[in-house]
């Protein structure tokens, strides 16, 4: 349970850093943009497996039990996240990243987080 929450916290951390860059709260080089986008993409590829086994819904958790009863739906949402996150990483990898496109892609990624949380998180 701690592990899956750890993965999500990592996802949140990378997403928060990227948001701060998009808002202009911080100014770092493209290496930071790239590293955060890459780590988001890496973590997204773990999200399905991290939840695969029901490691508990009785502790301090916000996971809903329907994750495991509607597993294929959950897995599909995890895959959508993976696809959008890898597109984001690809945009960030460009020598001269297109910030407008990255901003739009952040919304697409954010949409996949929201879609999964809506159905599967308290």
């Amino acid at each position: 349970m701690k592990y899956r929450q750890g993965v999500m916290r990592g996802v949140g951390g990378a997403m928060g850093n990227l948001s701060a860059m998009m808002k202009g709260d911080v100014k770092f080089g493209n290496n930071h943009l790239r590293a955060n986008a890459e780590s988001l993409a890496w973590l997204s590829s773990l999200s399905r497996e991290a939840f695969q086994e029901n490691t508990g819904t009785t502790g301090p958790t916000k996971s809903k039990a329907n994750i495991w009863s509607s597993w294929s739906d959950f897995a599909g949402k995890a895959q959508a996240f993976e696809i959008e996150a890898s597109k984001l990483a690809e945009l960030a990898r460009a020598p001269n990243p297109n910030m407008a496109a990255i901003g739009e892609q952040m919304k697409a990624v954010g949409g996949t987080c929201g879609a999964c949380h809506k159905d599967f998180r308290e």
Partner: protein, 295 residues
């Protein structure tokens, strides 16, 4: 994209309100987004026809279904006149004179300016008509009696146009109008009394009994329980993307408000909403479910 929108907007607002057809429709589309009409009037699912109704709305008073408001003459609003439409937004009265239930947030929409309501009507009339029949609401006694709404309104409803605060110019007024009239943010973000009417003293301070039984957070600038820690930029970015300052993403109904509504507005309007929220009186209130799951 944003820049294009901003230019479009400037162009739209520079026009006289009763502009030519296409411009009126485009303005109506923008305003309908700001007002979130689509969410309640479109069924869930990828194949749903926008505005053709069927969306299930679970409330403490019963289950409602948003009706078809495409221009279909039988199932939609094809036969409605502009005056009847304005009356519905302003007074919550249906074409046949019956009272509408306040799930349709006319309690906020009563503040929409007439010219804006006309533009929304022109936009709805421009949509393709969909012959989708309406679903009957599932309401227990006494809420199933429409006439009961007359009493409800008499007690709880004050029709009236938006009154700009005299000491605020520019952005705060635009923000107030977007939040109070069009965006009807307070309809979800405010506690309701036994009657199901919002409690004005607790405006925007959140509720534990929001739509679909969800907790809706406090969005007044209270340091402990509200959004005091958010910068204007944080709010603008949130209303655009649904991403919270800590990197988490918003879910549920707010995600929909952003996807269909605030995320499609011009940046200036998001800015105006943010500034208005930050100008609200802070209220200390942390909505929480009575019995959280056993730890």
């Amino acid at each position: 994209m944003l820049a294009r929108f901003a230019i479009l907007l400037v162009a739209l607002f520079a026009l006289p309100a009763a502009g030519r057809g296409d411009e009126l429709v485009a303005r109506g589309e923008y305003l309908a987004r700001a007002a979130g009409c689509q969410s309640c009037h479109t069924a869930n699912g990828p194949n749903a026809v926008p505005f053709a109704g069927g969306r299930k709305l679970a409330t403490p008073k019963g289950v409602f279904y948003g009706p078809n408001i495409t221009p279909d003459p039988r199932h939609g609003i094809g036969q409605w006149t502009e005056a009847e439409f304005l009356r519905a937004l302003r007074l919550g009265i249906r074409r046949d004179g019956a009272h509408l239930y306040p799930v349709f947030p006319y309690t906020s929409y009563t503040k929409i300016a007439d010219d804006d309501a006309r533009a929304i009507f022109a936009y709805l009339k421009s949509l393709p008509a969909s012959p989708t029949p309406n679903k009957a609401h599932e309401l227990p006694f006494p809420y199933n009696i429409r006439m009961a709404m007359a009493a409800w309104k008499w007690l709880n409803f004050k029709p009236g146009a938006f009154v700009p605060a005299s000491d605020a110019v520019g952005a705060p007024n635009r923000g107030a109008y977007l939040v109070e009239a069009l965006g009807h943010c307070g309809e979800c973000h405010t506690k309701r009394d036994w009657w199901g009417a919002i409690v004005p003293a607790m405006a925007f301070a959140g509720t534990k009994d929001g739509p679909d039984g969800k907790v809706v957070p406090n969005i007044t600038p209270d340091p402990e329980t509200g959004i005091d820690g958010w910068s204007t930029k944080d709010l603008v970015y949130f209303l655009d993307t649904g991403l919270l300052p800590d990197g988490d993403s918003t879910g549920g109904l707010m995600a929909e408000v952003i996807r269909n509504g605030t995320g499609k507005l011009a940046d200036e309007d998001r800015q105006a909403i943010a500034i208005y929220l930050q100008s609200l009186k802070p209220i200390k209130h942390k909505p929480k479910k009575d019995s959280p799951r056993a730890p």
